[in-house]
């Protein structure tokens, strides 16, 4: 690995996944596991962005639909979606994404501040933008994304 002095401290691994037309990244520190084909039990009369709950080895985990959260049209249940389990406070939360694509090593100096509005999604959901060769990765701010909705 070619590295400039002190670079290790500023690098992080990003898990990349797609939600709608947005390519998102999440520091893998937050990611517990990634699941496919888990039956989601729909819960009614709860905030729109909560798709339902799943049984994760005996734990009831809330599943948040990233698309709804971003204001996109929700993913149909037939679609092959994946659930990224993230640690949030003292619980696990599932993020419903279209697909998980890759893990990249990102240099923090290449991360740029988020514009206030990213493809129609409020900027505070993101920590920054990371440039890949061909595309841009919006790095999720889990705290903002999940905590904001407590009101």
């Amino acid at each position: 690995m070619q590295s400039s002095p002190g670079a290790n401290a500023t690098k992080c691994k990003l898990a990349l996944f797609e939600s709608g037309h947005l390519l998102c990244g999440l520091d893998i520190i937050h990611v517990q596991e990634i699941n496919k084909n888990i039956a989601v039990t729909v819960v009614h009369r709860v905030p729109e962005y909560v798709r339902g709950v799943i049984n994760l080895r005996g734990e009831i985990v809330t599943v948040v639909d990233l698309r709804t959260k971003f204001g996109f049209a929700p993913l149909s249940l037939e679609a092959e979606a994946e659930i990224v389990i993230v640690r949030f406070g003292d619980e696990n939360i599932g993020l419903l994404v279209d697909s998980v694509s890759d893990v990249v090593l990102a240099d923090e100096k290449d991360i740029e501040p988020t514009p206030p509005n990213l493809a129609g999604v409020p900027g505070h959901f993101f920590k920054g933008i990371y440039k890949l060769e061909q595309s841009l990765v919006a790095i999720l701010n889990i705290e903002e994304l999940l905590a904001r909705e407590f009101e």
Binding site: T41, H44, R45, V50, N55, T62
Partner: protein
């Protein structure tokens, strides 16, 4: 002295001290109650507890605690020596000190120590009048905190004779200081001559000394004695009390411990030693075991009821494991059930058993007696009563009833609040009470008991009661309710208003209560742990508050229901009954009153909520799944998929309709409009959810789960009733926790998640309250339509041609089983059921009716109680539940196992006699249950019943049981018979022409001749209200008409004694 930096030691000291303190409070109160007539055992106990705390605190360098405990200990010593009468101020100061110690212990490490001067001064001021020798070290220590403790009074003696002591020790002898009380005669020499001779015979008196310099009496004499006897022997030999004999051990030889202390605790001596002379030469080790053994009898006694402390985290973990095990069991059972592998039977049974046992065992470790919190109310009530100038007698009952720790903890605050309320607002001051003609001393009762798998806690005061007029006034002034609504409310509804936030009926705000905060919080806290709340109050007489609580929260029995594709669990605690309205009856039984759906149920209108509507999921079935409009929410798409998996009768019918949800709803309306007589939408909602055409499908019956919210009941309409299961409650994530519709979630046998419904939340969410449907307005006329003799029957059949009926109120459950679950053992058919064997009967074993259909793979078992056990009747098919008012014919079809017949749905239907079947097939059971024909001894029983059928039935089985039955058809005839015959017991119907059972009973009771005569009401109507009326009229028991077994048992009970 610095803190010892050992968190674990500190923590265990704190835990132990808390336990001591818990005990101290009650004991002190008991000591106070006993007054001068002290219970030495009790005082000693408190003394030792304080002493332990002092010791530990000294050891750990908690100086404030130590000083306080020390002062308290000295005071207790005086009480013990009968130098001080434990009056209220004395006990108060001790309680305050205990409180402060408690607070000090709860302080986080490193916090600024609380000021202890107040309580300390209080203790010392009581001690001050005459510091004497016995308590000398303590008193001086407490009076001048900070000065090192004075050494034992015989210290000088030891010092003077150190050489002799050393010699004796070399010779293997024990060194003792014997204390002689010289109070009787101060002129007496150091030692009675007789004692001296005795002692010299088996040891050596090294020296002696009279008490300290103080002139105050009593002055003990100390004798230094060396002997080969051990302490116990010496005690009996010298004829001295235990505490007067002090063994001087090597380590202690220099700084001796406080003299009058029986050394029970492992801490105190090293602690004191360490505190008094911090020289490193003195090891702070536990005292030698010998010292402890000296008081072994005491300890053994205390050990019998000691408890084990278990870290709650470990318990939580065990609980989770047990939960998992339960889930695995469910899964396993499902596999076994579906694949019919006989091999698995035994294994699964074992598995089932072990799981249940493990669960129970672990659960029991979490169970704690309610007494833990009850007892602290002695103090609360005492203090409050003093403060408010009231006299209150607190009566505690059922402190041994156990509940889950979580619930006990959650109960603490609400209960405190309620008790304070009762003391403050409920019970009046002595002069007011006297004026009202009551005893000046009020009574407050706290009761706990088990009832129906729940724990009931009652708080009963005999105070002034709650003034509903004032509540009205208050609520109106708050402006939150409409005047008309309030005016129309019944008493118990008004009472419930005290749970409104901000409401207080106290005329003035006192320190104790009355600020209008609290009752709403009480309600909220109790609801959280599944508690249900009720208030009954009589002005001038008092108030009774009833709290119903589940035993545990972790694993609860529930009913699984489904709406659409999703399954939900309803805790059985909340359930009252299940009602199925057949398609043909929907129109007649379910209707709409001002937007609200109601069902006619036994003469009352019960509000209904469609679960689908509450959860917002019903409209999807009108969704055109081809439309993917932008505004269409994700829900609809989910529903699209869901509808794919369903038989799509309703869907296909609407495929061409407009796409949006709004249009769909309109369509419902249109459709309703087109069919005005099908205006009731629960029907449509439910049938539609089934996905079948309601016009033709037999499934268009409506399933209703009647649930209770306190005294208020309502019905939840669901699609399907699936199963009853024990479920493990799992918490929901933070995003879902605010939803008031769900109480949690659980994982089912197939791994799917089912949400647990919160019936209270749902009723709130749907704005349903007892006032919302004006049921009462229609009450009387509704009731009038119902024939009081109406019987509710379960219709079953074995052959398509023959219809049978079983009285519903005799049945406990109906189970659908696989035919191969029936096992043939010992010539009898049985099945495994809820961990035991359920004997099975078929009706044709006793009666000449068609046998079970052989070709069905499954059959139904109607489970009914019989004596101590249960039995099941197998039938091929369950048809319906019907209420019949037509005359029952008790002659034409009467035969063993059949009690008569009735025409239902144009068919002659035979009434099954459950008792008769058992009596025919298993006659030995009857003798076992002491219901045999010889149980009666010819006593005379008057049967008052207007229906010829029931009259014959009852007379029949009363005679069979060996009694002589006299029959009357109404109250008037009954009275006439009473005049003529010598009657030992009356069985009477309630609803009768001419003179009904209530009036009849009242008249019987009014006549001096018959006052003591047992009167048993037998009726087909059941219900609290009816029962209460009956009991009020003087009825001894209230029984169901056809429950032959119970009726006979009850008669036997009354006539045998």
């Amino acid at each position: 002295m610095a803190f010892i930096d050992d968190d674990e030691t500190l923590q265990s000291f704190k835990d132990e001290s808390h336990e001591h303190l818990d005990g101290i409070e009650n004991d002190l109160l008991a000591i106070e109650e006993a007054g001068a007539d002290i219970d030495l055992e009790l005082v000693n106990k408190v003394f030792r507890a304080m002493h332990s705390i002092k010791g530990g605190a000294g050891f750990l360098g908690l100086n404030a605690v130590k000083t306080l405990a020390h002062a308290a200990e000295n005071l207790l010593n005086k009480i013990r020596n009968k130098e001080l009468v434990p009056t209220t101020p004395v006990i108060s100061s001790l309680l305050d000190a205990a409180d402060l110690v408690n607070r000090l212990l709860n302080q986080p490490k490193g916090a600024v120590e609380l000021d202890i001067s107040g309580p300390l001064a209080a203790l010392n001021s009581i001690l001050a009048p005459g510091p004497d020798q016995t308590a000398a070290p303590g008193v001086s220590n407490a009076a001048k905190p900070g000065t090192p403790g004075e050494p034992a009074p015989w210290q000088a003696l030891l010092a003077a004779h150190s050489a002799e002591i050393a010699d004796s020790r070399m010779g293997g002898l024990g060194i003792f200081v014997l204390e002689y009380d010289r109070s009787a005669d101060a002129e007496q020499p150091d030692l009675p001559a007789a004692s001296k001779t005795t002692l010299e015979s088996i040891g050596q008196i090294i020296g002696s000394q009279t008490g300290g310099s103080s002139a105050s009496s009593p002055q003990p004499a100390y004798v230094l004695y060396s002997t080969m006897m051990d302490r116990d022997m010496l005690v009996s030999f010298a004829g001295l009390p235990q505490e007067m004999v002090h063994e001087i051990l090597e380590e202690q030889a220099e700084p001796a411990s406080a003299p009058p202390v029986p050394a029970v605790d492992p801490h105190p001596i090293p602690a004191l030693a360490a505190e008094q002379s911090p020289s490193p030469a003195l090891p702070a080790a536990p005292p030698p075991p010998k010292n402890v053994a000296a008081d072994s009898s005491e300890q053994a006694k205390a050990g019998t009821d000691s408890s084990l402390r278990v870290n709650i985290r470990i318990l939580d973990n065990l609980m989770t494991l047990a939960g998992e095990l339960v889930l695995t069991r469910n899964q396993f059972l499902q596999i076994v059930h579906s694949s019919h592998l006989q091999i698995f039977d035994a294994v699964s049974q074992r598995f089932d058993l072990v799981t249940s046992e493990l669960q129970e065992a672990i659960m029991s470790t979490r169970m704690q007696p309610v007494g833990n919190i009850f007892n602290k109310f002695k103090r609360v009530v005492r203090d409050l009563a003093h403060k408010l100038g009231k006299e209150i007698d607190l009566v505690l009952e059922g402190g041994e009833v156990e509940m889950d720790k979580t619930i006990i903890e959650a109960l603490n605050d609400p209960l405190t609040h309620l008790v304070r309320n009762s003391v403050d607002h409920g019970i009046e001051t002595p002069d007011k009470r006297t004026a009202a003609g009551k005893t000046p001393c009020g009574t407050l009762q706290l009761k706990a008991f088990h009832e129906g798998g729940q724990v009931i806690i009652e708080i009963i005061d005999d105070g002034g009661g709650i003034d509903t007029a004032r509540i009205k006034e208050k609520v109106l002034s708050m402006g939150t309710h409409d005047k008309s609504v309030i005016e129309a409310m019944q008493e118990h509804e008004l009472l419930r208003l005290i749970f409104l936030p901000g409401l207080s009926t106290a005329k003035e705000v006192t320190e104790v209560s009355g600020r209008g905060v609290g009752m709403d919080v009480v309600h909220a806290n109790l609801s959280k742990v599944g508690g249900v709340f009720d208030i009954a109050s009589k002005p001038g007489k008092g108030t009774t508050i009833t709290i119903k609580l589940p035993l545990t929260l972790a694993i609860i029995p529930s009913l699984i229901v489904s709406v659409g594709a999703e399954r939900y669990a309803i805790p059985q605690v909340n359930m009252v009954e299940l009602v199925r309205v057949p398609a043909s009856k929907v129109k007649e039984r379910i209707e709409r009153i001002d937007e609200a759906l109601v069902i006619r149920l036994r003469g009352r209108l019960l509000p209904l909520i469609s679960l689908a509507e509450a959860l917002g999921i019903e409209k999807r079935y009108y969704q055109d799944r081809k439309t993917k409009q932008l505004k269409v929410c994700r829900r609809q798409m989910i529903e699209d998929r869901r509808s794919l998996t369903l038989p799509s009768g309703a869907d296909s019918g609407n495929l061409t309709s407009a796409g949006s949800g709004v249009a769909a709803i309109t369509e419902v309306n249109q459709e309703n409009h087109e069919n005005p007589d099908r205006r009731t939408s629960p029907q449509s909602a439910v049938n539609i959810v089934d996905g079948t055409d309601r016009r033709t499908s037999p499934q268009s019956a409506v399933n209703i789960v009647v649930v209770s919210v306190g005294k208020f009941h309502y019905g939840l309409i669901v699609d399907k009733l699936l199963d009853s299961e024990e479920i493990v409650v799992k918490p929901l994530g933070s995003h879902l926790r605010q939803s008031q519709l769900y109480a949690g979630a659980t994982i089912q046998g197939d791994g799917r998640v089912a949400l647990i419904l919160d019936v209270v939340g749902i009723s709130k969410f749907m704005n349903l309250s007892s006032g919302s449907v004006r049921v009462r307005d229609r009450g009387p006329q509704e009731t009038a339509r119902i024939n009081p003799d109406a019987q509710t029957l379960l219709l079953v059949r074995n052959s398509p041609k023959e219809q049978l009926a079983i009285p519903l109120n005799l049945i406990s459950r109906i189970e659908e089983i696989q035919r191969d679950q029936v096992e043939l053992t010992g010539g009898r058919r049985n099945m495994q059921y809820r961990g035991s064997t359920l004997p099975l009967f078929s009706i044709n074993e006793a009666a000449a009716v068609a046998p079970l259909q052989e070709d069905n793979s499954n059959l139904y078992v109607v489970v009914f109680p019989f004596g101590e056990r249960e039995a099941g009747i197998m039938v091929s098919e369950v048809i319906d539940i019907v209420t019949v008012t037509d005359a029952l014919d008790g002659i034409t079809h009467k035969q063993p196992g059949i009690m008569g017949s009735v025409i239902i749905m144009k068919k002659i239907t035979m009434l099954v006699d459950l008792f008769g079947i058992v009596a025919t097939v298993m006659p030995e059971w009857i003798s076992q249950t002491s219901l045999g024909t010889d149980s009666g001894q010819g006593q005379h029983i008057l049967v008052v019943e207007d229906s010829p059928f029931f009259n014959r039935q009852i007379c029949g089985f009363v005679s069979e049981a060996g009694y002589k039955a006299f029959s009357a058809t109404d109250g008037i005839e009954g009275l006439a018979l009473l005049e003529r015959e010598k009657i030992d017991l009356i069985l009477t119907d309630i609803e009768m022409p001419n003179m009904d059972g209530l009036e009849f009973t009242a008249r019987v009771r009014a006549d001096a001749r018959w006052q003591g005569l047992p009167v048993i009401a037998v009726t087909s109507l059941s219900g609290d209200a009816a029962e209460k009326r009956g009991l009020k009229a003087g009825v001894n028991e209230y029984l169901v008409k056809l429950d032959r077994e119970k009726v006979i048992q009850t008669i036997n009970r009354y006539l045998k004694h």
